[in-house]
C-alpha cells in the first residue's frame, strides 16, 4: 500500500522537490467593541505544518493611527493584502483630505478578498475608531464576506472560544472589562489550540489612537487557564504516579 499522497511524493528534497506546506498564521484573533473603542487580542504563533516558524509574531498590523488589521490564513497572502490595502487607504486619505472611515477600509479589504477569493487563503479582522461611528469591528472571513460585529473570534483558535465570547459581551463595557475578556479569550484559545501560542498581544484603538500591550507567559498578567484536575492515565491497576 502506498503510504504517500501524490503531492507529498513530489516533495522529496533529495530529488529537487520541496514540500509545499503553507506557512500560515494558524491563529487566534479576538476582537470586541466597548464604549469608546475596540480591543483586539492575538497570539504570536506562526507555523508550517506542526513546526513553529515564529513564536513571537505580531499579527496586529497598523493601517492608520486609529485602525489595525489582524491577519489569519496564509502569511504571505495576508501580508500582501495588508500592504496593498494600506497603500490604497493612504492614497484615498490624501485624495479626499480626510481620514477614511473604518467601514470604507473594510470595503477595500473586501475587494481583494472577494475578487481573488479563488487564489487567496486569507481572512482578516479590521478594527478601528472613527469620528462617525466610534469603535468598530469588521470580520472578513475567507471569500470576502463582510460583517460588522460587537465581538468576534477568528482563526483556528476561534472555535475554542466562540461560546465564551458569546457569554461575555454586554452593552456599555468599560475598557478594562473589555481588555480582560479579550485577553482571557486568547488565553483559553491558546490553551487548547496547537496552532496558536506564544505571547498575547492586545491593541486598544480609541479616539486617542492605538496602544499596544504585551503579555508574556514568563511575566505576571498572562491569562491563566486551570482545567479540572486529572484522573489516572493508565488502567487503575497499573502502577503510576498518583494525580
Amino acid at each position: 500500500m502506498d503510504t504517500m499522497r501524490d503531492d507529498q511524493k513530489e516533495a522529496i528534497p533529495a530529488l529537487g522537490f520541496y514540500p509545499h506546506v503553507d506557512i500560515s498564521t494558524g491563529t487566534t484573533l479576538i476582537a470586541m467593541e466597548y464604549n469608546g473603542g475596540v480591543v483586539v487580542g492575538t497570539d504570536s504563533r506562526t507555523s508550517a505544518g506542526s513546526f513553529i516558524t515564529s513564536r513571537a509574531t505580531n499579527k496586529i498590523t497598523p493601517i492608520t493611527d486609529t485602525m489595525v488589521v489582524c491577519r489569519s490564513g496564509s502569511a504571505a497572502d495576508t501580508q500582501c493584502i495588508a500592504d496593498i490595502a494600506k497603500y490604497h487607504i493612504e492614497v484615498y486619505t490624501m485624495l479626499e483630505n480626510e481620514p477614511l472611515t473604518i467601514y470604507r477600509a473594510s470595503q477595500i479589504f473586501r475587494q481583494f478578498l472577494y475578487n481573488y477569493r479563488d487564489s487567496l487563503s486569507a481572512s482578516v479582522l479590521v478594527a478601528g475608531w472613527d469620528a462617525k461611528e466610534g469603535g468598530q469591528l469588521y470580520a472578513l472571513p475567507i471569500g470576502g464576506f463582510v460583517t460588522r460585529q460587537r465581538s468576534t473570534a477568528s482563526g483556528s483558535g476561534s472555535t475554542f472560544v466562540q461560546g465564551f465570547l458569546d457569554s461575555q459581551w454586554r452593552p456599555n463595557l468599560t475598557l478594562n472589562e473589555c481588555k480582560a475578556i479579550v485577553k482571557q479569550a486568547v488565553g483559553l484559545a491558546v490553551f487548547r489550540d496547537g496552532s496558536s501560542g506564544g505571547v498575547v498581544r492586545l491593541a486598544t484603538i480609541d479616539a486617542n489612537g492605538t496602544s499596544m500591550e504585551l503579555y508574556r507567559p514568563d511575566k505576571p498578567g498572562f491569562p491563566v487557564v486551570k482545567p479540572p484536575s486529572a484522573h489516572l492515565s493508565f488502567p487503575p491497576h497499573v502502577e503510576q504516579t498518583p494525580v
Binding site: 513564536r55 498590523t61 489550540d193 498581544r201 504585551l214 507567559p217 482545567p227 503510576q240
Partner: protein, 236 residues
C-alpha cells in the same frame, strides 16, 4: 482508489503524543515526555502520561497514537505476566526485541502501530554492578526499525533536538550526572515548546537507575524565555 487510501492514512493516528527525549547518565537513564494528548492540532486532553512502568527495571515511553499504545500497554503487561509464570521479570533488552518484532510484523501486514517507542531500563544482572552496569535505551519506530542509543529525541524532536542533545552529551564526554542529564532534557523541552505546535509546557521525567530502579516522574511545568517578543516583531 486514491481516495480510499487517503482515508485510511488520515484516520489512523487520532489522539497523539509528540516527542520523547531520553538520555543515559552514569548509572541510569532519564526519559522525558510532555503530558498532552493532541487531536490533530487541538490540545485535546491534558495530564496524560506517556511513560509506562513495566516493572522495577523497565520503563517504556512513547510518541504517536495513544489508542495504539493503550493496546500495546496491555500486550506488554500480559507479556510481563507471562514471564512471571516462569518466575522471571522481563528485562529491557528482551522487551525491546519483542516489541521490535511486534512493530515490524504489524508494518509488514500493512497495518502499522502508529508509535515510536523508547524502551529504557537496566538488566537485573547488571544492577548494582558498577563495572558492567550499562543503562539501556532502545528505540523502535513504527516501521519496526530498531536501534540502541545513548541519547535520543523522537518525533519533531528528531529534526530539532538530536544535535543539541548530542552536543551537550559530548561536552561531558558521556560522563554525565543525573542532574546534568535532566538539565539537558529540560533545555530540549524548552526548544520543543518554541518550535512544536503539539508540544506542551507540562512534562514529566521518568528514570531507571541501577540503584533504585524505575522512578516515575511527577508533573512539572516549563515556561521558557519570551523576552524576544519585546522586540519589533512586525513583518514589515
Amino acid at each position: 482508489m486514491m481516495h480510499h487510501d487517503e482515508l485510511q492514512r488520515t484516520l489512523n493516528p487520532t489522539c497523539t503524543g509528540t516527542s520523547v527525549i531520553a538520555m543515559q547518565y552514569k548509572t541510569g537513564v532519564v526519559v522525558m515526555t510532555d503530558r498532552v494528548v493532541s487531536y490533530g492540532k487541538t490540545a485535546r486532553y491534558k495530564n496524560v502520561s506517556r511513560q509506562y512502568k513495566v516493572n522495577d527495571n523497565v520503563l517504556v515511553a512513547f510518541g504517536g497514537d495513544h489508542a495504539d499504545f493503550q493496546w500495546l500497554q496491555n500486550v506488554i503487561e500480559r507479556q510481563a505476566l507471562f514471564w512471571k509464570r516462569f518466575d522471571q521479570e522481563i528485562g529491557p533488552k528482551a522487551l525491546h526485541g519483542y516489541l521490535t518484532s511486534l512493530l515490524y510484523a504489524r508494518r509488514c501486514k500493512m497495518n502499522p502501530l502508529w508509535n515510536t517507542l523508547i524502551v529504557a531500563g537496566i538488566e537485573e544482572e547488571e544492577k548494582n554492578n558498577k563495572e558492567t552496569s550499562t543503562p539501556f535505551i532502545g528505540v523502535i519506530t513504527q516501521k519496526g526499525c530498531a536501534y540502541q542509543v545513548k541519547h535520543v529525541a523522537t518525533g519533531i524532536g528528531a529534526m530539532l533536538l538530536n544535535q543539541a542533545v548530542e552536543d551537550s552529551w559530548r561536552k561531558k564526554g558521556g560522563d554525565i550526572t543525573r542532574a546534568e542529564a535532566e538539565a539537558v532534557l529540560k533545555k530540549a523541552l524548552e526548544l520543543t515548546i518554541y518550535h512544536d505546535c503539539t508540544a506542551d509546557n507540562d512534562f514529566e521525567i521518568g528514570s531507571v537507575d541501577s540503584e533504585d530502579g524505575v522512578n516515575l516522574g511527577k508533573e512539572e511545568t516549563i515556561i521558557g524565555d519570551w523576552s524576544i517578543a519585546e522586540t519589533n516583531c512586525q513583518y514589515e
